[in-house]
């Protein structure tokens, strides 16, 4: 590998004529989500269009990949030329000086076409450090047939009190239908992604302006009590082991009346091959409580080039290809329009083919456009991020708090106990990290 990288520029300098004979290999690390698997499957298309670049793939599960990439980038290991990271990592890594600035994008890439909240999420100090592969927010899915039977009309913007009421009406455990399914599996990217939005809309925040955690505040108490009560009365049993995947399986097999989760699930639960409820699917914006601020999250998987890459130019050629308008078109034509990577480009949502194939497109677009990571709570916050805070300490804090809330949901401790223990743990972490 190393030798190869040393030889290529040398050979290139000696024999400029035979550039295409010396194909440069770039190593692309990515998550094994559906959209990325499609990208990997289109390797031939890329290599045909760029005969001087060859792609080597490292496809791993999200958590394994995150650890693997962090090790490599923190040690300047140089094993990867393209890294798939999220909106949480990009600003932190950019601040560390680990990522290559992407200011020289080709003219036809049309940077302005990328949805603004996503673009902002991948920028640091006004410069772009990663290109979005797909983006998502959160919204509410419900079963039209059950709602019609119960005589429920869903307004344009539902509230959590209404959701509570509806859950009680459609809840029918004897026939295997639960009022509502929500995430319960502990983890900063699992139950806390959802709970952060719930806390936000109840007026709470993760940290005050001086970085003191506010997990034992009245807003957190109200939100978590509401969540535990709702899930215990109208949720499926064993909810603490339900993450995104498990809930998707429950909802698409017809066991949930409502589900509030990622917009990126829409394509799958609308697909009759994967879902029994495709014909009965209703969409609504994520419910709100006291404030609309931060009621739905914003996330994007993006492609970045580490500073330690030995083939930055080839890597940039690849990431501009994989996030371009032409790529969206290529996937639409080859794999069907519901399979195109959502939530990144204005032009995708203006495409007539996409609008026809994906009736949920407008909800998704609106959810992403109204999510504001720079202003996620009714009160001012020192961090950026709706369902996370963009500091390295957040992963540990989020997961710890998630475990305590899961314990409250399972009835192992009271909400009061869980939140005060969570507050103490978060406070200790922040103090040790030197925030105050």
């Amino acid at each position: 590998m190393r030798l190869q990288h040393a030889i290529i520029p040398l050979a290139g300098a000696m024999a400029l004529a035979s550039v295409s004979a010396n194909a440069e290999t770039i190593t692309v690390a990515t998550v094994n989500n559906n959209d990325m698997i499609i990208m990997q499957g289109l390797t031939d298309e890329f290599e045909k269009a760029h005969p001087d670049i060859k792609l080597d793939w490292v496809v791993l599960e999200e958590n394994v990949l995150r650890q693997r990439l962090t090790t490599d980038i923190a040690t300047d290991g140089g094993q990867f030329d393209v890294m798939t990271i999220g909106t949480y990592e990009v600003p932190i890594w950019a601040k560390q000086g680990w990522l290559t600035q992407l200011d020289n994008l080709p003219e036809d890439y049309d940077k302005a076409d990328i949805l603004k909240p996503i673009r902002d999420g991948l920028s640091h100090d006004g410069s772009l450090y990663a290109l979005p592969f797909y983006g998502e927010s959160s919204m509410m899915y419900y079963r039209k047939d059950l709602f019609d039977k119960a005589g429920i009309e869903v307004p344009e913007q539902p509230t959590w009190d209404e959701v509570h009421d509806w859950a009680s009406k459609v809840n029918d455990p004897d026939n295997g239908v639960y009022g509502i399914c929500l995430r319960g599996k502990p983890g900063w990217g699992e139950n806390m992604a959802f709970l952060s939005t719930l806390v936000n809309t109840y007026g709470g925040r993760w940290f005050d302006e001086d970085w003191h955690p506010e997990i034992d505040s009245p807003a957190w108490h109200k939100a978590v009590n509401f969540y535990v009560d709702l899930m215990n009365n109208y949720g499926p049993p064993g909810a603490t082991s339900n993450g995104f995947n498990e809930n998707q399986a429950l909802f698409s097999s017809g066991k949930c009346g409502m589900w509030v989760d990622a917009t990126s699930a829409a394509g799958r639960i609308y697909n009759p091959d994967e879902s029994k409820v495709a014909d009965e699917l209703g969409f609504a914006p994520a419910p709100i409580a006291e404030t609309p601020k931060g009621s739905h999250w914003l996330w994007s998987w993006a492609l970045a080039i580490p500073k330690s890459s030995h083939a930055k130019d080839a890597a940039q050629t690849f990431i501009t290809w994989a996030t371009s308008k032409d790529y969206v078109k290529l996937v639409g034509e080859k794999k069907g329009w519901t399979s195109v990577p959502p939530g990144t480009r204005e032009s995708t949502y203006q495409n007539a083919n996409y609008q026809k194939a994906a009736p949920f497109a407008d909800f998704v677009l609106k959810a992403i456009q109204t999510a504001d990571p720079t202003d996620p709570s009714a009160k001012p916050v020192p961090y950026t991020g709706v369902q996370y805070a963009d500091i390295p300490e957040f992963q540990a804090i989020g997961t710890q708090v998630g475990q305590m809330i899961a314990a409250a949901l399972a009835g192992q401790r009271s909400v009061d106990q869980a939140l005060s223990a969570a507050q103490r743990a978060a406070d200790r972490t922040m103090r040790q990290a030197g925030y105050y």
Binding site: N32, G41, D56, V58, L60, E61, R68, G77
Partner: protein, 273 residues
Amino acid sequence: MNQTLSKKLVLTLLAWFIALVVFFPIFWMILTSFKTEGEAVATPPSLFFDPTLAGYHEVMARADYVKFALNSVIVSVGSTLLALLVAVPAAYSMAFLPTPRTRGTLLWMLSTKMLPPVGVLMPIYLIFRDLGLLDSLTGLTIVYMLMNLPIVVWMLYTFFKDVPRDILEAGRMDGAGTLQEVLYLLMPLTLPGIASTGLLSVILSWNEAFWSLNLTTSDAAPLTAFIASFSSPEGLFWAKLSAASTMAIAPILILGWMTQKQMVRGLTFGAVK
């Protein structure tokens, strides 16, 4: 007579029960690998279903199984041979020429296994980066060799210790040097032990996931990295993951099945004196 028969029956039933309990997860995994993704997560789980190879097809389409499997074979066999090469002389000297510090040395070697590997990830990663060993089969083989060395030395030491010194002395009387003593007397006498030690080392290397995931990217990635690419927090994956896992354990399962007599003999070798 009657009593021993019923005792035997109870023991046989118990052994079967334990074997079934131990084997059940593997059985379930193999069963799941022939289901569709929807059936794989269905509650209650179905025992009877139309078997499908869809999971296997998708796994084969997404990753080059042969390349990963070949890496696994090279690394696990290579590291085992290397470990035996170092451990046989080490165990020989400790078993037949002990010093007051031998006991302590053995315990110290074992203590290195008590450190969580993640504790030394950073230094090893940096050393490998500087030596250009990241994502290389050589690097991974060395790490596995070092990882299994304490266990290999320990096992060989216990096997060697059971060999009567008189036999070696007799050989020496006949003019054998140290090398001949080890090659023609000690090793043939303890072959079942050496074989089972080697098999254990192969299995441990085959299953090792921490170092293989962290030190490889694409060229040297073994089957553990192959499996890790099929579990996912987004979208259903149990059937695919089961198919990938079945394929990953198949070679070692077959090897274990073929050599089980050898293994049991080796592991109980010297247990009854």
